[in-house]
């Protein structure tokens, strides 16, 4: 575990800063990624662990929200079954733009070890996915790394340009 010391008066703690709107908007978006509590299976437990005391997700600005209408990112943590498939689509549709999806764990990526009749072989058959995290289950560190990569991705987007709606088809 690393403890990081920041001197806010020295580096970027200026009371006045000049920048572009793009950067400000992206700064806001990328540092307050609110995630939907979407723990479906085992990975959901690791997602909870990332939110709990040791891994402390709050320092990334990632706060779990129970309503899709308040969430920016949907972390699909666990196996998506055929019976559940319609609900993930419904919840995804309820999220406001811009929205992102992290597919956490092998089951969500490809169906994983559950190569059976009841499992959807990858959530990207239902909704568009931005980031795939490997592992069964991925460690909380992996999820945090994934969120950092998502932040990087968000910062690379043009914030003021009209967002292209993400659709699977």
């Amino acid at each position: 575990m690393a403890q990081h010391k920041v001197n806010y008066t020295q580096n970027a703690g200026l009371p006045v800063a000049l920048t572009t709107i793009d950067k400000v908007v992206n700064w806001g978006r990328s540092n307050s990624i609110w995630a939907l509590t979407y723990g479906l299976a085992c990975c959901g437990i690791e997602m909870m662990a990332s939110g709990a005391s040791r891994y402390d997700f709050d320092r990334y600005g990632t706060i779990f929200r129970a309503s899709p209408r308040q969430a920016d990112v949907m972390i699909v943590a666990g196996t998506l079954t055929k019976k559940h498939a319609e609900f993930i689509k419904r919840l995804y549709d309820q999220m406001t733009e811009p929205r992102w999806v992290i597919s956490m764990g092998s089951c969500a990526n490809t169906g994983g070890m559950f190569n059976t009749y009841a499992t959807v072989q990858g959530v990207d058959r239902i909704i568009p996915v931005d980031l795939y995290l490997p592992g069964c289950a991925p460690r909380p560190e992996t999820l945090q790394y994934g969120v950092m990569l998502l932040q990087k991705k968000i910062r690379a987007e043009k914030a003021i340009k009209s967002q292209k709606t993400k659709r699977l088809m």
Binding site: L40, C42, A49, T81, K89, F114, T116
Partner: protein, 412 residues
Amino acid sequence: MQHQNRLRPFFENITFDRDDNEMILNFGPQHPSAHGQLRLMLHLQQEMITKAHPDIGYLHRGMEKMAENMIYNEFMPTTDRMDYIASSSNNYGFALAVEKLIGLEVPRRAKVIRMLLLEINRLMSHLFWLATTALDIGAMTVFLFAFREREYLMDLIEDYCGARLTHAAIRIGGVPLDLPDNFIADMRRFLDKLPENIKDYEDLLDTNRIWRMRMEDVGVVSKEMALSWGCTGPMLRASGVAWDIRKEEPYELYSEVEFKVPVSDKGDNFARYRIYMEEMRQSAHILYQVADMYEETIKNNQTDLMAHAPKYISAPKIDIMTQNYSLMQHFVLVTQGMRPPVGEVYIPTESPKGELGFYINSQGGPYPYRLKLRAPSFWHTGILTDLLPGHYIPDVVSIIGTTNIVFGEVDR
């Protein structure tokens, strides 16, 4: 082109403008306090539930079907994903069932290590239960506290097998690895601090007015109801039946360790909470004794970790690398799988949630002909049908919390 969304409400045929005041509330399948993917359809009269209809299967992954298509050793990692809060207890249940089927005796050191893993898993599971239930009822601090202790246990397990959640730490015929050097010392250090931690939780909860109001006399399961619904584990013991498989039908080394089985005759949420807390203390008590047993095996030089049965179990790595016959056996066992005798077996074990049973029907082939997983949570979810009517909406959350259901195991 954007296609028309074809999803329609599930309740097409139900009209909501009825003459009486009955309302239907859909709860789940994605609800933060449903402990997974439980869907409840509640018929409400004002805030009172008149009828509850739990709908499960949102995490049905076809494990029984997978078992029919996998060789016995291949199925072991799949059992991890049943009760994923305490993976090793599932591994153990399956390993024990297959060992009973082929009539195998496990070396003592392996038994000791298995006991350690089982009890660590029980502690992990109970801590997790406490964390989530407290969070659902609104006690956020307890969630953070209990997860902190759970992380220490995760570290221990990680030291042993390298995984945090899905351990696959037990093999048919023994355990794959010996304990790492610092394991016992680390565990003792954790256990020494545990009573203090449990006291912290109790200080926060026991006299907490909100906690007591939401737990006491809520969700009362009578003895008859618990027996009729097939409840086991803490659900049954909170209803006044002193039945713990570790005590009554001892497996492994449970007959050699001393522990108490907490029982309550109240049957409400609070009784279940007290039982979980007491079981954590008893688990710690068992772990101290097992740690001594482990040191004894070192003293007696009992180093075997896997049973010796060349027909079913691969030889130790050193033999495989040096002896031709062992290598051939290993090759056959890995590619074709072991072929247990023809017969069937049902072996119950006491998992943290209750009676975890594996029914295996073998026809002498490398694949089980039928494997039925008897998961305790399945019936603990079913009992909600009878338990919820008469309660209010907020009670639903606390009742689901104390039944301690895990959906990997309910739906399998």
